[in-house]
Symmetry: C2
Subunit: 315 residues, 2 copies
């Protein structure tokens, strides 16, 4: 059985051809052409699939299914992608039926964070783990819940929003309208907004020059690099971000008795200080029965998690 996984992002479309044994036969990456609206983007998805098949020398008749991860919510009942924020012009797009009409095979569409979690479950850090929550740190704090090896969608298909766990009911307003969501502390933009005034008080930090002269250019990656180079303040900022995620993780672990969390995305590459912050905070906050049993793992697949998980939607 040959399966195709597509990770449809706001900038690029990453896709993969998976063979019988789950082996990667071919990969492709094309620009999304998001500015062209749904029609242009869907055309690029078709082109990605054609590219995969041509480059992999695989006849399309051998393809049994196409899975797609999209950066938005899905209406599973009506088979619609619902206004993904990074795909302009998409309101309610029947992506599934577009692809089925064009390729004549089974098609499944799911949220990108769910696909990333499923990718880790089948091919990455989550192999052999029945229940876990996969967290992707980036602009937002995406997450997907795997229960009994499958994506938990919840009642309407919107399940998995660990990023919108409030860690302070009177905390800062989040983009979602809630207060104190963990995303409102550690989503890229929020993390930088919190870090800048702190850095401005530390002329000894390697980040000081950039943060005071060109604050708009500062990214979590800069902080991660400074921390890796030994900057104490950068280390503290990441540890602090980890502590906040740890608070949300502790509440989720208490609620669900899920004790494995797989952390990926840009900031997660920061590594040790972030993970140290998560682990110490979560272990301190969690119920006694869970203390010391938490397993906070780095994601293993990087940016490939989404397309691999998308292919696994049909597995």
């Amino acid at each position: 059985m040959i399966l195709i996984g597509v990770d449809l992002g706001g900038t690029n479309i990453k896709s993969v051809l998976l063979g019988d044994d789950g082996r990667v036969l071919q990969q492709a990456s094309l620009p999304s052409h998001a500015e062209g609206g749904p029609r242009a983007v869907i055309e690029q998805v078709h082109r990605s699939i054609e590219t995969l098949l041509a480059d992999g020398g695989v006849d399309r008749a051998r393809v049994e299914g196409i899975g797609v991860g999209v950066p938005g919510s899905i209406d599973f009942t009506r088979g619609l992608v619902l206004h993904p924020p990074n795909l302009p012009g998409w309101e309610e797009v029947p992506l599934e039926s577009h692809l089925r009409a064009r390729w004549g095979v089974a098609v499944a569409v799911d949220n990108d964070a769910n696909c990333a979690a499923l990718g880790e479950a089948h091919h990455g850090a989550g192999r052999g783990i029945a229940h876990f929550i996969g967290v992707t740190l980036g602009t937002g704090v995406g997450s997907g819940i795997i229960l009994n090896g499958r994506i938990w969608h919840g009642q309407h298909g919107y399940g998995g929003e660990l990023g919108h766990t409030s860690i302070d009911l009177n905390g800062p307003e989040c983009g979602c309208g809630g207060s104190g969501c963990v995303e409102a502390y550690i989503g890229n933009r929020f993390m930088i907004a919190r870090a800048l005034p702190v850095i401005a008080h530390h002329p000894d930090s390697a980040l000081y020059r950039q943060a005071t002269r060109d604050p708009a250019s500062l990214t979590p990656r800069d902080i991660a690099e400074a921390a890796a180079a030994g900057d104490a303040l950068a280390h503290e900022i990441l540890f602090d971000a980890g502590s906040m995620l740890g608070a949300a993780i502790a509440s989720a672990a208490n609620l669900l008795d899920i004790t494995t969390f797989i952390i990926g995305g840009g900031v997660a590459a920061a590594g040790k200080p972030l993970f140290d912050g998560i682990i110490s905070s979560a272990n301190r906050r969690v119920l006694k029965v869970h203390r010391g049993t938490l397993s906070i793992l780095p994601a293993a697949l990087g940016n490939d998690a989404g397309m691999l998980g998308a292919a696994s939607l049909l597995g």
Copy 2:
């Protein structure tokens, strides 16, 4: 099929005999004799069952199973009740095998909050609802998660602790060792401790005399009664408690896309102000997709939920 459900509490053992159609054939309530340790309590459980059968005129050969809810955690792998805080002397008690040995039928033991949720699922406010979280307000904030009509136990059997969702990572210390757990605001003792200084500043409140002259006697029930009689401050205290529970509920709804919450227990009887607080807070905090879809229902079974759910463990 006749089933027996037993709700083993620190003070009383409530039990029920359920007929083929789930109809209640007989009920009993006996003191737990908790001060006598496990042996005395287990003897009372046996006596409860004997009483049910005798009073119901049912031959023990017709009983197909016994379910028991206990106020503590369960080690399902080893079949042990683990140190329930309100049953002195219980460390690790193989209650299941004691009952199986004595009665020769299928026995299932689960946590009391899980049983209460399952009781509401089969016989109460949760009938026909696939996924919900049942919350029992009392000394603690107990809860049980029903997914696809069944109790969600999680990885180790400790799932369902909504009361230990932190709503403020820097909030007051909870009995569990965590910070800002919703239980640390609205568990009976905590609610009273928060209310007393507020009441002391409101000589116009109906609660003022009791709170200043005999503070140790003030209970959530007193507050509920004052609110029902029109006391504005009592109303505010309950609304505020509801708001806090609403914050934890919003995070759980975002995480799981579960939008039904069934609220029972002593304080829940306070009714409107508490529910108004929950509903307005949760709807304000939840992701846009869930706003207006939340269903916050009063539990329907009162103190009977536990024993009815216990019987349903084998259903």
